[in-house]
Amino acid sequence: MKKLRIRNIDQGAIMKLNKILKNSFLVLFACLALSACAVSKKSTGQMQGDVYTGTDTVEYLASGVPDRVFFATNESVLTTASRETLRKQAAWLRKNSDITIVLEGHADERGTREYNLALGERRANAAKDYLMTYGISSDRISVLSYGKERPVDSGSNPLAWSKNRRSVTVKAN
């Protein structure tokens, strides 16, 4: 009797689990379909959504260590690619423990000057926080916001703006 009861309970649980899995699979599927949609609609080859994914403006701190990460409009959230870049920077900084850096935060030209100064500071700090979680001491990092004052691309188009929304890691010594 005991066994039976347990089995019954188990079966119920399994059925429930199946249902959850199925549902979440559906949700996951829907997510994929949506993001595929978004990508096929907005990707220009060098942008995903409105985040720059190209390498035209990227320089390297060392072989395989890109110096900058890019942001979506009005955002300071690090993308998966940005986090990967910053992990490479952290590894390089751990190996070269005498190097100090400046994180220069930038915005595109499509925002008011003062807000953009704050936004640039917020972006550079997003990069700083991530480097710190990978073991880089805050003593080695300073932050400098340029707002929209120092674009790399002087064009007035979405691709140019995506290159300008960035945080650049610069060697300070």
Partner: protein, 446 residues
Amino acid sequence: MKKILFSLILLSIPFKVFALIEVDITRGNLDPLPIAVSPLSIDDNSRKNFEKILKKKDIGSEISKVVENNLKTSGLFNPLDKDAFLQAPDIANLKPRFEDWNLIKAQALITGKVNMIDNKLRVEFRLWDVLAGKEMMALAFTTVPSNWRRVGHIITDKVYERLTGEKGYFDTRIIYVAEEGPKTKRIKKLAIMDQDGVNNKFLTLGNELVLTPRFNPTSQMVTYLSYFRNLPRVYLLDIETGTQEVVGDFPGMTFAPRFSPDGKKIIMSFAKDGNSDIFTMDLENRIVEKITNHPSIDTSPSYSPDGKFICFNSDRSGYQQIYIMKSDGSNVKRISFGKGLYGTPVWSPRGDLIAFTKLHKGKFYIGVMRTDGSGERLLTENFYQEAPSWSPNGRVLIFYRETKSDDKGEGFSAKLWSIDLTGYNERMVNTPTDASDPSWSSLLSN
């Protein structure tokens, strides 16, 4: 700037009685008042003396040109062509033949004369109501000769005030950022000029990036952001002596500075660890106070003229919006609820309106709203424009506008523009270089 003594004498008591002419500035003026500005008459001796000092052939007509240009750019007046004037300047100043001025459709007439007394410039002028055949105002000034353009501006202020019932804004200056070079390596300098674009002077050399200069109430001091030694900090500059100092001792970027209406405090943002909050520093006792305390970006603060409230820009709702609060930071209220993003709120010197920049569907607007957020009115739309600053009488806004670059990055420019509160009379303000971040001074005289 040197303090200048103007002695001003009322030549006759102006009558306040129902003048027939008056100019309504509360609506867009599509029918500017026809006004004749007769050249100020000058005797031969004075003319020769002034020519030696000022290198101007006829200082009388030069001053009247300043007046004429001011009246024209205000959009409220239509200065008539001098070729049509029938009466000689000296005789007109004694007793105008109103029929002659009526004939060329002038409704108001300005006459006057200049002479040199004890090496000083003495100017008297009169404003006449042509239709009523009456003198409306008569004033005289004595000042050093080099002040001759300011005399023109003060005359305009007096005429404007007499005919509109509100203070003028002509004897004022604009401080702004002069820009040169490619967008990616822009060189920026502080510059100052008269309201009409004349007497431009650069105040910094361009060695470091400078942004957002703003006058104090007496227009002798300026607060601005400088990247001196790559440390972006708010500075205080005395225009008269050229001395400057960092405002406060903050361990990070300070920016978006403005003076309190009494000139005793500077209000600004301080950014730390990805968060910008609003602070004030008392310039006398150096006490720093934190006004906002929120993990969002709080910036672009601006006091109400009575000093009791502050409007500012925050993205605490997720996007840039305009908020107001009491000056101690309490009672924070969002006031912008229209579509789009809102930035750069600036309280009108009259206290009733807040000017702002709005971004909606890829276009930038300069607009105004009441201090509770109601009555939003957009004055002008463009590819990029921002940072309105009020004329001291609260009737005109100056801001900067940028043009779109092409895909090669060419074709970019930044210029100052002004627009009437009514949305009419939009004009580019001439500057020797590209220009941005304008701030309008208070009236320098009266």
